[in-house]
Symmetry: C2
């Protein structure tokens, strides 16, 4: 059976080495909503929690963000925490912070050691990415470099190039999530992920979004994708399955795959 390169933190695979890793987003607007999400999600034991801070109303209050991160981490009971500000251009929420403020917030969160991973976008300024790579590395925080296109699926060569570029910029993990216009786009994403998995040395996450992209969410691991996103109380992108449904499907298809 084909196995993707695993996501590791401090040299140890997350999630006890099961694959693909399951990442569940937290998209609450405030502490109460986030607590409700945590109460729902943590007992379901995802392999990683992604706090989508662009959904958080008090994002401009750095102390509030840090306090919230600490609370999430305490509630997460050992599940690694990924910090993600998704930009509007890549499918996120509008926020009041300027880019420089976002970078400063990320760097502060690394130094406070209140998250385990950060998600930066390949489209961010090169100097900002380099700064956050250095800041995260010095604090033992891992970095995902990501690319999202909620409108279309680039050609396979371009997708491979994004993964390669992420590794060149020092990412620990490279992520590409794109929207298919039809079935052939789903195959393009899967094929590009598989090619990239042979071309780079870091774990990859390849996602084809929306209903027709569900193959990438449940079977992307056969094509080199190390992780898949599952919805908790809320989802953060179209096509995410509920975590328990995703697990049930993975159990069936992995048993079928292992049988012969």
């Amino acid at each position: 059976m084909v196995q993707p390169r695993r996501i590791e933190l401090h040299g140890r695979p997350i999630g006890a080495g099961a694959y693909p890793s399951i990442i569940t987003p937290l998209v609450g607007r405030d502490a109460a909503a986030l607590r409700a999400e945590l109460a729902f999600i943590v007992p379901r034991r995802p392999d990683m929690l992604e706090w989508r801070i662009d959904h958080f109303a008090r994002l401009a209050d750095t102390d509030a963000v840090i306090a919230m991160a600490r609370e999430i981490r305490a509630a997460a009971a050992g599940v690694p925490l990924l910090l993600t500000r998704r930009s509007v251009a890549e499918g996120g929420q509008a926020i009041a912070l300027a880019e420089a403020d976002v970078v400063a917030l990320y760097a502060r969160m690394c130094h406070e050691r209140c998250v385990d991973l950060i998600d930066c976008e390949l489209s961010q300024a090169r100097a900002q990415v380099a700064h956050l790579r250095a800041a995260s590395a010095s604090c033992g925080v891992a970095m995902i470099l990501s690319f999202h296109d909620f409108r279309a699926t680039p050609g396979a060569d371009e997708i491979v190039a994004r993964f390669v570029h992420a590794e060149q910029l020092g990412a620990d993990i490279a992520k590409v999530a794109v929207m298919p216009a039809g079935p052939s786009d789903v195959l393009a994403l899967l094929g590009a992920t598989q090619r990239a998995s042979q071309a780079v040395g870091i774990p990859l996450i390849g996602i084809s979004m929306g209903g027709i992209g569900v193959a990438s969410r449940v079977l992307g691991w056969q094509f080199g994708s190390a992780a898949t996103f599952a919805a908790g109380l809320g989802d953060s992108a179209p096509g995410q399955l509920a975590i328990e449904e995703l697990r049930a499907v993975l159990a069936v298809v992995q048993r079928a795959g292992a049988a012969r």
Copy 2:
């Protein structure tokens, strides 16, 4: 949501129009084994039963075969019955009958109207295929023309050509089942099935076998495949999921697909 062209019999979709159609094989050696399979499978309501007569010990006794077919059909309680002799070259069991005897048996089964569909192989002699096309058509029996490769996956163009060829020879349904050597072969089968579904006017069945081909079994319908094979008491090819597991997975992925 993408929907494949449905399999119809006498102008009506099988299985109440749900898709993909689920076909479950009967692989018993004798009447007792077949009865046990039917007792297990029929309550699980597949959309079609495939009687793999190359597994049947009394295949040389035409009257016994016809009597068995009638018994299966009675037990099937309305589930359509597909008659299939799979040749050794395409993954079947060795049998005592010569090719001419197989063709005569098929024609007799059509005339006795004890099956709803027959599976012929594209590799059979052209005259035999034409003979069985005429015999089945005159009796209201549908014909699948199939191609199997248990060793490898041909190139995508060749797979498309097999589907097209089946339609050209008058098939009601075209089937291609091939073995992947790696993930890219699974994508080739799915992509070729999707291309073929736009090039031909009959329902298609495209299958990538083995553990790594599971994407084709649970998500092939997104790429134009009208049916998928699920195991009953026994399976007939590597990678088949149990029928209830397949249904559970289909329910989840189709709900996810319909959500947006």
